[in-house]
């Protein structure tokens, strides 16, 4: 479990996060929703250990994040950014293989190769393995990076202590690929991994997240299951826009934003 305890971050006199309390539980996908500048990415960066909070602390399985050795942390926690620029010509397989870096002293060549194969299969990029990364579309590149973080978390230890942190993983993807990526991430969570993801689209959060945290001005304004959180009042308060909630066939909420109230 990753626990964020009273996290506050300020930059240039402006509070980005204020006393945020949040726990990430094994087996769940936790989505961070909120308008631009609400502090979603900042929160994800704090949870990833990329940014030290001005006050408060981050705990990983009962230990302070800062006390964990960086290599063993890298075997348990992977981070995926919005997009990744690869500086030199590399094949897809080589990029995915970089995810095995933390295992340089642990795993055998064969174990590494098998982990790379599994990761490429899971992210649906096996067919691209020989392609040069630079020639791929944005969506394909993001799937390759997803395969890379899958390979990074493919170790021998308990999946209940593995964490995946994603910052708007679907922002550059088309509709089908958005769902493909999030379905793969959700499958990972069903295997016991804990996933924290920043999302823009409430409907993607509704479909793939187990819990949703809504941020506004650095404060969590709503936290709960999609059905609990995705209500007209919550959406309007967070985004400042009117919204209607419909029910999908399975009963999950569908947000129709910007819609006028139906005249009586």
């Amino acid at each position: 479990m990753i626990t964020l305890d009273h996290i506050s971050v300020a930059r240039r006199g402006r509070a980005l996060l204020r006393e945020v309390m949040l726990s990430l539980v094994p087996g769940e996908v936790l989505a961070l929703l909120g308008p631009n500048g609400a502090g979603k990415s900042t929160l994800a960066r704090v949870a990833a250990g990329e940014l030290s909070p001005d006050s408060g602390s981050v705990w990983v399985d009962g230990k302070p994040l800062t006390s964990l050795p960086r290599v063993s942390l890298a075997r348990r926690r992977a981070v995926l950014a919005q997009s990744t620029h690869v500086a030199f010509p590399m094949s897809v397989a080589e990029v995915v293989e970089l995810g095995r870096s933390p295992y340089a002293s642990l795993a055998s060549r064969l174990e590494d190769e098998q982990a790379v194969e599994r990761a490429m299969l899971r992210a649906g990029v096996t067919a691209l393995r020989h392609r040069s990364y630079a020639t791929l579309s944005g969506g394909e590149q993001q799937r390759v990076q997803l395969a890379r973080v899958f390979a990074q978390l493919d170790g021998a230890s308990d999946p209940g202590t593995r964490y995946l942190i994603l910052d708007e993983p679907t922002s550059s993807l088309d509709l089908a690929h958005q769902h493909q990526i999030l379905a793969a991430v959700q499958a990972l969570a069903r295997n016991g991994f804990a996933v924290l993801t920043v999302l823009h689209d409430p409907n993607l959060a509704s479909r793939y997240a187990d819990r949703i945290a809504v941020l506004r001005d650095g404060v969590i304004t709503a936290l709960g299951t999609p059905a609990q959180v995705l209500r007209p009042a919550t959406i309007e308060h967070a985004f400042g826009i009117a919204a209607r909630i419909l029910a999908d066939a399975d009963g999950s909420p569908v947000v129709v934003a910007g819609s006028r109230p139906i005249p009586a």
């Binding site: 990833a48 990329e50 960086r70 290599v71 063993s72 942390l73 890298a74 075997r75 926690r77 992977a78 981070v79 950014a81 990744t84 620029h85 690869v86 500086a87 030199f88 010509p89 590399m90 094949s91 397989a93 080589e94 990029v95 293989e97 970089l98 995810g99 870096s101 933390p102 340089a104 060549r109 590494d112 190769e113 790379v116 393995r129 020989h130 040069s132 630079a134 020639t135 890379r148 990074q152």
Partner: protein
């Protein structure tokens, strides 16, 4: 341009293939070495060169050794060839490290002002060595120049990195333009030293401006060898981390690398290699730019190949350039910096043009 066959992990044995490429390059270096030692005003055939080299190494040599050949090789050509290999390897390795660190294929010790910083410091010790710096030269002796060049190089590399990299992202335009600014500053400093130098110092300074391996001595070889061999031995340890740097500094952190230490070690290695190279041969341009590209074309971007491969190709390339410098206008000699610039300049332009769109 992206050749995958040699890279990638699919069912192949990349470690073996890397080994094969490196072995082939080492062989090429050996052949080029024998050729370079054999060619000159007095041609010496390859078997005779080999015989002299084996004999000098204390191994049984087959065949007759003429004393004249031995004298020419041992006193003139061998130290020069050794120096060419060391300087070439040092500059190419530094180029590969800088490109990996800056995540940019346009980084080169001369282009970004690192060599200029080293030359400025080196010339400073020539001009001030007999006056202001007497206490320093008294302690460091023959190492004054390499140490000064090292410090000049270290300062400029660290400064360049600070200037052009923000939160782990290098801005190409900033990098190249800061390089111009730093070179201009170094040249201004050089000009000032030239202004206050006497005739003898002026001759020594001219040597730095041109870049040359002429008059190589065993003493020079012995002075720089440790500074260049040390990075060559230590740097392969950075290969995995630099591979992660290809994704960006943040991703390297998330993959478990101590990026601050990696940057510190890489900049230190660059400063050692370039400082030593500049101290004995002046500023020789473009080796650090061209060589890492050649090895990437040969076998992909994996730094486990790129770093040692660059050192080997750098040696081959500088041996060849020095050969051209020696025999093109014999009995006179071209400055080797001129040869490498004549070859590297067009290459740089081609590189810029092929990336014009991505550079913006």
């Amino acid at each position: 341009m992206t050749t995958v066959p040699l890279a990638g992990i699919d069912g192949s044995l990349p470690a073996l293939r890397r080994g094969a490429v490196l072995a082939a390059l080492a062989l090429a270096l050996g052949i080029m070495f024998v050729v370079a030692v054999g060619m000159g005003p007095v041609p010496i055939s390859a078997p005779k060169v080999l015989a002299v080299l084996l004999d000098a190494a204390g191994l049984p040599s087959f065949g007759m050794i003429e004393e004249r050949d031995r004298a020419i090789i041992m006193a003139i050509r061998l130290p020069r060839a050794c120096l060419a290999v060391l300087v070439g390897a040092g500059l190419a390795l530094a180029g590969a490290l800088l490109q990996g660190l800056f995540r940019n294929p346009l980084a080169d010790p001369q282009l970004i002002g690192v060599s200029g910083g080293a030359a400025f410091a080196a010339v400073g010790t020539i001009v001030l060595g007999g006056t202001l710096l007497i206490p320093v030269t008294a302690i460091l002796g023959v190492y004054t120049l390499p140490v000064a060049a090292f410090i000049g190089c270290l300062t400029t590399t660290a400064l360049m990195y600070r200037l052009s990299t923000i939160e782990g992202r290098t801005f190409v335009a900033t990098m190249l333009l800061s390089g111009i600014a730093i070179n201009a500053l170094a040249m201004a400093g050089l000009g000032f030293f030239i202004f206050m130098s006497d005739d003898r110092q002026l001759r020594d300074i001219t040597f730095w401006m041109m870049g040359s391996l002429s008059g190589a001595t065993w003493k020079q070889v012995m002075t720089v060898a440790p500074f260049i061999l040390l990075p060559c031995v230590l740097v392969p340890g950075l290969a995995r981390a630099l591979n992660a740097f290809i994704l960006g500094e943040r991703d390297a952190v998330h993959l478990g690398f101590d990026t601050e230490t990696v940057k510190f070690a890489a900049i230190g290695a660059v400063a050692l290699a370039v400082g030593a190279s500049v101290a004995v041969s002046g500023t020789i341009g473009f080796v650090g730019l061209v060589v890492p590209h050649l090895i990437r074309l040969l076998g992909g971007a994996d730094h486990r190949l790129v770093l040692p491969g660059s050192a080997l190709i750098g040696g081959v390339l500088l041996l060849a350039a020095d050969l051209i410098a020696r025999i093109a206008v014999a009995p006179a000699e071209l400055p080797i910096g001129l040869v490498t610039s004549a070859l590297g300049g067009p290459f740089f332009l081609w590189l810029l043009l092929s990336r014009r769109r991505t550079l913006g």
